[in-house]
Amino acid sequence: NAGVIQTPRHKVTGKGQEATLWCEPISGHSAVFWYRQTIVQGLEFLTYFRNQAPIDDSGMPKERFSAQMPNQSHSTLKIQSTQPQDSAVYLCASSLDLKGRGSDYTFGSGTRLLVI
């Protein structure tokens, strides 16, 4: 079990460019979550997929951010026209999605995005 795999580990983009972040959840986990972590705001929920379907995107900035899960083995988070304030560590997590359980919640190591 390689755990949740996130690529790239580090990404530097110029202001206005697009950034795509990748997440491979643990095989068999039906729930995938994206979080953003900054020093100021801490860990913030972005979006959640269950069995590849988008369930809750209440934490996603409405403009420029989008997430997809085209198959059970990977999810992507895309940021268009990146801005310096998008600089953060983006974390992906997966779990078996047993309601109220969460004992197998596993995070990846994250992608550190720097927008210059």
Partner: protein, 111 residues
């Protein structure tokens, strides 16, 4: 303690000491999860304590939960230098593991 508008907390102790970190939360939750995050890594779940449990132990870790005061604590006994990390509590009021994290406690354990 963590939560709300509080800043990131920091604790510095010597190896072998015991430590307790506190967390208070604002909304109903079915579960409190405690995580540890080491530099360059994602958070790793340490203990999950459910709303019908008062205490949960795992090795040197002990978590408590008081739903009446909406607070939880994580204690580590006989700390090691490898316990140096940031510790977070997280709650779930969604029922589907959408976690809300506290601000965290930075723990530095010196050898």
């Amino acid at each position: 303690s963590q939560w709300g508008e509080e800043n990131l907390q920091a604790l510095s102790i010597q190896e072998g000491e015991d430590v307790t970190m506190n967390c208070s939360y604002k909304t109903y939750t079915t579960v409190v999860q405690w995580y540890r995050q080491k530099s360059g890594k994602g958070p790793a779940q340490l203990i999950l304590i459910r709303s019908n449990e008062r205490e949960k132990r795992s090795g040197r870790l002990r978590a408590t939960l008081d739903t009446s005061s909406q607070s939880s604590s994580l204690s580590i006994t006989g700390t090691l230098a490898t316990d140096t990390a940031v510790y977070f509590c997280a709650t779930d009021d969604s029922g589907y593991n959408k976690l809300t994290f506290g601000k965290g406690t930075v723990l530095l354990v010196s050898p």
